[in-house]
């Protein structure tokens, strides 16, 4: 009885003190995320937008929404996917699935030039220019690649964006083989997408043929692991149906350790087979290009530490983060310390290369680093983030690695990826961590059947993690990148001298309509608050091409052209020239107008396309 009373009192004490200290802590923590009205955030947060096909940009620490960059999907608000240039970039698809954004690097640190993003659905990769925040280039579908998920991982000096396939298919694409012949007929692919140092333009340089494992996530090496890249896989079972069960049978799956410099050499030496126009290297024929390392069941993330020595894989169905020592990996390769091989690819001796498996908790997915010797692993099943210390560990710690787990914080709910600024560089920023969560539950205001995604901002500058802000986004961020605001100075206008569109006109005297047979060409100027010319007389059946230049040189002076009952939304940012074309199929007079509010006389900014019957 006495004991009972004592417990009750103790419980009360905990509740009381818990409430007061928790409440007080929350207040100060939340104020750390506050950015006063009129002031700017200190960091950019670039989210992948998942199957929206976009990139979402927010500010840290306020988590305020800043903008969206349309990449693989049309965006009428940006005029993206309606003018000739962006339509050509989008090709035949109206959507894509953006998973893993990667910032360009120089000497292993972010250089603020480009952001690369993958399209998991249509096997493409895009480059966003961080001077303009616009999609500059899309390449793909990449030959032989199906399910461009393990992408885009940028090397130390942006030599390559490296990608690996989630799905395997019979190669080359377009070839039929029965799915039951999966093991024999299907293959995965690792691709080296070379990036031009000056222009950033991309091209598929070489590929590596792999067994039909499902490649998942990856990262690139630096320091001692410079020249290497790493991917986890699931389905080492090579099952082709009911993967949920069939691909979860073995206790270990394989991670691929790829020496991309060796792959580059093999391609240069002609040690490849051309498949669908790409040199494809068979790693069994090119020793030293690829090794397998067993990792605990169905891993997800595999992340290289800032110093390049430790490689951490999350187990997903195994409650540990496994730490591999790249120095041991190199020694094992040198001494050929292999525990077997799969299709001629050596499997490194697991015990030799594993430094330890840290019991971080249930459902470890993905690990990031703060540059102070700490690792942070997202725990999907447990809905939390575990903070733990990287090696070197003491003998006592090695006895029981649960001792190196130093902190945990609850996440709402079911965290997928997490990101720390610069975690994949030599110099992590180490101040903020963003958790990107898969289940919002009933946390936000109800929005009907469809729920937003949640993001939570965690201050990691102290010993203990502290949650300071949360926000909601549309579907569906997977991973993100964080860049200090002062790392870039984006343009506010396209200067007249930098506009290289061959059909740009700047002087209203030069604007006008010219005809060549059936072809009508309009050189148009948009400037507050009129279009010149603003009446376009054409005949039915003529093909019209309009080159419209927004001659404004003032920040935010954006003009648009929307044409009634024509599926056209063009946006010209200050200084831009856009080209679009249509054929005049129906007679009538079609008003067009400026869609983006520009001035007091914005409403008056309009014109007519008058289509008379052909004679």
């Amino acid at each position: 009885m006495l004991r009972h009373v004592a417990y009750t009192i103790a419980l009360f004490a905990v509740l009381l003190t818990g409430c007061s200290s928790g409440g007080g802590g929350d207040d100060t923590a939340t104020s750390r995320a506050e950015v006063p009205i009129g002031e700017k955030d200190s960091h950019y947060l670039f989210y992948s937008g998942g199957h929206s096909g976009q990139v979402f940009v927010s500010g840290i620490p306020s988590m305020r929404d800043l903008s969206r960059i349309p990449v693989f999907a049309p965006s009428p608000g940006h005029g993206y996917g309606y003018d000739d240039e962006s339509r050509e970039m989008l090709g035949d698809y109206t959507w894509g699935d953006v998973h893993h954004p990667a910032l360009s690097k120089t000497d292993g640190t972010y250089d603020g030039r480009w952001l690369f993003v993958n399209d998991n659905a249509h096997n493409r990769i895009a480059r966003i220019d961080l001077n303009t925040f616009k999609t500059a280039e899309i390449i793909g579908p990449i030959p032989n690649a199906s399910g461009n998920h393990g992408s885009s991982f940028v090397t130390e000096n942006t030599e390559y964006a490296l990608t690996a396939t989630r799905f395997s298919v019979p190669l080359p694409k377009g070839r039929y083989a029965p799915v039951e012949d999966y093991e024999e007929e299907f293959n995965g692919i690792v691709s080296g997408i070379a990036i031009d140092e000056e222009t950033g333009s991309m091209g598929v340089d070489w590929q590596i043929l792999t067994p039909p494992f499902n490649w998942d996530l990856g990262s690139t090496g630096k320091g001692p692991s410079s020249g290497w890249a790493f991917w986890t896989s699931y389905n080492s079972e090579m099952a082709s149906d009911s993967l949920e069960i069939q691909a979860s049978q073995m206790d270990r799956d394989y991670a691929a350790f790829v020496n991309w410099e060796a792959a580059e050499d093999a391609a240069e030496d002609g040690n490849y087979t051309m498949i669908d126009g790409v040199p494809v290297i068979d790693p069994a024929e090119a020793p030293g290009v690829m090794y397998f390392v067993p990792v605990a069941k169905s891993p997800h993330g595999i992340d290289v530490t800032p110093d390049g020595r430790w490689i951490v894989a999350g187990g997903k169905l195994d409650p540990t983060a496994q730490v591999f020592d790249f120095e041991d990996v190199q020694a094992a390769i040198e001494e050929e310390d292999f525990q077997g091989e799969v299709r001629g690819i050596p499997v490194l001796n697991y015990d030799r290369v594993l430094e330890g498996a840290v019991p971080v908790g249930q459902g470890p997915l993905h690990t990031q680093y703060d540059g102070r010797g700490n690792a942070y692993t997202s725990l999907f099943i447990e809905s939390s983030v575990a903070k733990w210390s990287l090696p070197p560990w003491t003998d006592e710690e090695k006895e029981d690695l649960s001792q190196v787990v130093t902190d945990k914080i609850d996440i709402h709910y079911n965290i997928g990826h997490l990101v720390i600024g610069g975690s994949d560089t030599r110099e992590p920023q180490g101040d903020w961590l963003v958790a990107m969560n898969k289940i919002a539950g009933d946390r936000p205001l109800r929005t009907g059947l469809s729920k937003p995604e949640t993001s939570q901002l965690i201050d990691i500058s102290g010993e203990e993690m502290e949650m300071v802000a949360e926000s909601y986004t549309s579907p569906e961020p997977h991973f993100a990148q964080i860049l200090p605001a002062d790392a870039i100075q984006p343009d506010q206008v396209l200067r007249q001298s930098d506009n290289d569109h061959p059909e740009a006109v700047w002087d209203p005297e030069e604007a006008g309509i010219t005809r060549d047979g059936n072809e009508v060409t309009v050189h148009m100027i948009a400037q507050r608050s009129m279009f010149t010319p603003d009446v376009i007389e054409v005949e039915q059946g003529e093909d019209v091409t309009i080159h419209v230049t927004n001659v404004e040189q003032v920040a935010d002076m954006i003009h648009g052209i929307g044409i009634g009952e024509h599926d056209t939304s063009i946006i010209m940012d200050p200084g831009e020239t856009k080209t679009f074309s249509f054929s005049t199929e129906e007679t009538g007079v079609f008003p067009f107008y400026c869609t983006n509010f520009c001035s007091a006389l914005h409403q008056e900014m309009q014109g007519y396309i008058a289509v008379r019957p052909s004679e």
Binding site: R528, Q553, V554, A600, L601
Partner: protein, 208 residues
């Protein structure tokens, strides 16, 4: 002319002393420098412009901020109220003003090498006339721009007088107008000329 007034003006014929000659030399340098310096600045501030719109007036040219785009912007805005397009060609004084300033530099040098106090006084008087005329001319041009508004302009606005020195508010804009450092050179010029006269005149008094 009686003896008293003759003795009052007699000092004009005396040569400039060394200090005064140095001062005249410096004055020549300043006025020559003003040929290339911005004389006046007009600045327009409005909430939507992160950086104000700037227009610098030189003896020989009109220069505007943001690589000349600010002048285009000012003209885009002027269109709304029906103000005539501002362009360099309208400022005919830019054709002759550099030569006049060059002339003052030569006159100052003449006073330095050959001069009597009389020469320095001539330079000062001529310059005062030139300065007053230029200021009036500037005022008049501002007046003409803002008084003759096109009645068909989108916005009907009462004609107004922009600030010549100081600020004026029109709609959402605050217009500032003030001398730039080229004008400081010109002010320095006239002060040096006066100082040169003063130094030599004082010496003449002491001598007599």
């Amino acid at each position: 002319m009686d003896e008293a007034s003759r003795s009052n003006t007699r000092f004009l014929d005396r040569p400039l002393n060394t200090t005064s000659r140095i001062l005249m030399g410096l004055a020549a340098l300043l006025v020559a420098g003003a040929i290339l310096a911005p004389l006046w600045q007009i600045r327009l501030e409005a909430p939507m412009y992160e950086d104000p719109l700037l227009m610098d007036i030189y003896a020989h040219k009109l220069e505007s901020g943001n690589d000349g785009q600010d002048l285009k912007e000012i003209n885009t805005l002027n269109k709304y109220v029906g103000m005539r397009t501002i362009q360099e060609a309208d400022f005919t004084e830019m054709d002759w003003m550099p030569f006049v300033l060059g002339g003052f530099a030569l006159l100052a040098l003449r006073a330095m090498f050959f001069g009597r106090i009389r020469n320095a006084v001539d330079v000062g008087v001529l310059f005062a006339y030139f300065g007053a005329f230029s200021l009036y001319r500037f005022y008049y041009q501002m007046y003409v721009y803002a008084q003759n508004l096109d009645p068909t302009a989108p916005m009907n606005m009462e004609p107004f007088m922009p600030a010549v020195i100081g600020s004026n508010t029109v709609a959402n804009f605050t217009q500032w107008s003030y001398p730039n450092w080229g004008s400081a050179l010109l002010a320095g010029f006239i002060m040096l000329v006066v100082a040169a006269i003063w130094r030599s005149r004082n010496e003449s008094h002491n001598a007599s």
